[in-house]
Symmetry: C2
């Protein structure tokens, strides 16, 4: 893999880091591959070596790269990536072409975790949490009509899941929810809803909302599972 296929960039080291990180997240390099040298990167993007080094420092901190003096820069395998690093989260926002293996991993995580989180939410949710969930759900409903509002619908969908994590009233889960936002968004964008499946998705979300409102733990768990089953179908993971 060379740099040639990457789009040009504009601005500081952060932009460059984002660019390279997204290429890595999309699986453009294989683990173990040697990454381009600092000077080549600088030459290609017309930035100073400093900028390149700053960018590569970020990627290294996120576990994407491994750098050793004299040896060069290598791409680390996916198991070494710091998936919960906020940097990762940032880089994943807006990225649609995630590595399929990564998509499955994140989906599997959510499928195991989100029912538990919904259950906790049913136990711990307070008035403001319910409000957040309701307003997110209302947004999903209102933007369900037209196809043009797809982006808006996705926003509300993400907000709904984030609100669920927040409602668990646990610092760690809360942080997880924040970090998962871009991943969830990517999953949603991958699963192109048709209008009929969208109605079904809405209905399942509503059951989660109702279960939490009724403080029904086990219903919340199973309802969350149903939402994710719908997602799995839309993703083509299962049918």
């Amino acid at each position: 893999m060379t740099l040639d296929t990457l789009p040009s960039h504009q601005g500081g080291a952060e932009q460059l880091a984002r660019l390279l990180a997204q290429a890595l997240l999309a699986g453009h390099w294989q683990p173990g591959d040697v990454f381009p040298r600092e000077l080549d990167i600088g030459k290609h993007f017309a930035v100073s070596r400093n900028q390149v080094r700053n960018a590569l420092t970020s990627l290294t901190a996120a576990g994407l790269l491994e750098r050793t003096a004299g040896r060069g820069t290598r791409v680390r395998e996916m198991g070494d990536w710091h998936l919960l690093d906020p940097l990762m989260s940032e880089w994943m926002t807006g990225l649609v072409n995630l590595d399929p293996q990564l998509v499955r991993a994140i989906y599997a995580f959510r499928f195991s975790a989100e029912p538990v989180v919904a259950g906790l939410a049913a136990q711990a949710a307070q008035a403001e949490d319910i409000e957040r969930l309701e307003s997110a759900f209302a947004g999903m409903e209102s933007s369900a009509g037209s196809v043009k509002a797809r982006a808006e619908h996705a926003e509300y969908d993400v907000a709904f899941h984030d609100a669920t994590y927040r409602a668990s009233h646990n610092l760690v889960w809360r942080q997880m929810g924040y970090l998962l936002r871009p991943s969830i968004m990517a999953l949603i964008h991958r699963s192109q809803h048709r209008t009929d499946t969208l109605d079904d998705s809405l209905a399942r979300h509503r059951q989660v909302l109702d279960a939490i409102r009724n403080r029904d733990t086990s219903s919340a768990e199973s309802a969350a599972r149903e939402v994710l089953r719908r997602t799995a179908i839309d993703l083509g993971i299962v049918n």
Copy 2:
């Protein structure tokens, strides 16, 4: 707060970062305080400005500091720390004085998450995973006799939990397990086992191991719950 009370350091920017980070985690600075200037830090520790900048870059990435040109470096409030950042994890190793509120939050998270993880492990564990669990458990058993081996026992205990997360064969859970290592260690150190409770803890760990080995999902879940109940008792959260 000045730099004078900090111990001297030896080695590169990573050591310096660790030193400063632990001082911050210990609450030596209040949120909003101005952090010492680059040149002062460099002068105090006799390192180049480069090293200082590299260290401060790490602390900034972890959400501990906020730096703006012309303004200087400020200490961010605790709500802004990136709790799940691997750097944090590293810096927290060996720190015993965690905020009680944080201890409870982490325990609550583990109590909700770890049964699910154990269940996944029962479904996905392969030979090498079982081996890791067995060897960690064997270590716990062998170091259970003397009081002097407490540190060693804690190591094996942490290894056991880490092996459980790994056995789930999910990238996100695996990362989560890695990040929780220092927190788990802190919890273990807080819960001073007496010899009788230690036998009980061992027995419960053994049931998790057996359940995973037998691929019994629901047994693994309940066994993991029992392990954490034991932990809760030892922590004094419940009796």
